[in-house]
């Protein structure tokens, strides 16, 4: 039996740990300002509205639309090379935050900007990974 290439494990930076902790429980969370409540973009060290530093996290529905995408047709990574062609996208959550993710469950040729999508969690040896699939019905 040969080793099947595994999806690379998440290596979250310190500030991203709450996001991945929630993802391990099949939940999508977004950062917001503990002072003024403004929902921040991922990775911001402080609030762009009031400049306060405390970042809190809140669960949001895992629904949104594709803001933009690409179809990757070549990869040097052993795992992803086996999945080409695959779709990488920036999804804008209905909560107003954009994140980088992958689109699954759709023929790459059918993916469009503004397509409604919802989160799904791919189970891997290192925990669930949030990806998105077309939202139907």
């Amino acid at each position: 039996m040969t080793d099947t290439p595994q999806r690379p494990a998440p290596r979250p930076a310190g500030s991203a740990e709450p996001y991945w902790d929630a993802a391990s429980e099949d939940r999508i969370t977004v950062p917001y300002c503990g002072e003024c409540g403004h929902i921040a973009q991922y990775g911001q060290p402080f609030c762009e509205v009031c400049l306060a530093a405390p970042v809190c996290w809140r669960q949001v529905p895992g629904t949104g639309r594709i803001h933009s995408f690409t179809v990757v047709r070549r990869s040097r990574d052993p795992f992803f090379a086996g999945r080409v062609p695959y779709v990488v996208a920036i999804v804008e959550l209905d909560a107003g935050v954009r994140l980088l993710t992958g689109i699954v469950g759709a023929d790459p040729g059918d993916v469009r900007i503004d397509m409604p999508v919802r989160v799904c969690f791919e189970k891997t040896g290192s925990g669930p990974v949030p990806l998105f699939e077309p939202a139907t019905g």
Partner: protein
């Protein structure tokens, strides 16, 4: 935190994917096409012909569109190739042996860390950096003789022409089709062939644009733009993250 998502297991996409998504979004919002993007490579190939070692044949738009899709919407000829190389320039206060080139204006801006956090994928921060450079120089885009614009992918050139004010926002597709971007054309862009035809020598890639602008202003370029007195130089780092614009002038201009 540029690697906030990239370092994760979600996707494997960098760096082609970020620029590809910017190209997708520009096409979605403004209708820019693959053939219009291809014009950048085709015109710059003519600039490289006979100057860049190994570049001995022209390209057509059809050639670019027939090259393999790597990362939609990019064909392989729209993507810079890595090479080894170096570029250098000297900033000096005192007159040297060579004709002097003046930094007449400069603008710089850093925005998002990761491309997903960019305020816009179709409008770059060049809208800020170019205004700063042009204002400081007291020169308008119409007064520029040559453009040397960062071109790791075709898409970095198109919105740059819009955002720096050389054409109206959203009009760059028809604009590049109607104008001649070669060194002997009416809007010379990347007159040494650009990185798309010479390759990207790591971080030296951006400096090659500056070196070429200085050569044009000194009148020593291989493909010399006649009576070249003003240049617009633009560099981009990260994934449309860091933008830097310069307006250079010939000392006697």
């Amino acid at each position: 935190m540029p690697g906030w998502f990239r370092r994760t297991s979600t996707v494997c996409w960098w760096p082609n994917g970020g620029y590809a998504m910017a190209a997708m979004r520009h096409a979605h919002e403004y209708g820019s096409t693959a053939a219009q993007r291809a014009r950048v490579v085709v015109d710059q190939r003519l600039n490289a012909l006979g100057v860049v070692p190994g570049v001995d044949a022209g390209l057509t738009v059809e050639d670019v569109l027939a090259s393999s899709l790597v990362c939609d919407p990019f064909h392989s000829l729209e993507i810079v190739r890595p090479v080894t190389g170096a570029a250098a320039f000297v900033v000096a206060g005192a007159p040297g042996r060579h004709p002097r080139v003046r930094v007449a204006g400069a603008g710089e801006r850093t925005d998002h860390a990761g491309i997903a956090q960019a305020r816009s994928l179709s409008t770059s921060n060049i809208v800020h950096t170019a205004v700063a450079a042009f204002t400081q120089a007291g020169i308008r885009p119409a007064g520029i003789d040559v453009l040397e614009v960062y071109d790791c992918y075709t898409i970095t050139v198109l919105p740059a022409l819009e955002d720096a004010g050389f054409c109206a926002k959203g009009s760059v597709g028809p604009f590049v089709a109607e104008h001649d971007l070669t060194w002997c054309g009416d809007l010379p862009v990347n007159t040494n062939g650009g990185q798309l035809n010479t390759g990207q020598a790591g971080y030296a890639g951006g400096a090659t644009h500056l070196v070429q602008a200085v050569r044009q202003l000194r009148g020593t370029a291989a493909h010399q733009v006649p009576d070249c007195a003003t240049a617009f130089v633009h560099g981009n780092g990260g994934t449309l993250t860091h933008e830097c614009s310069l307006v250079l002038t010939r000392e006697d201009a």
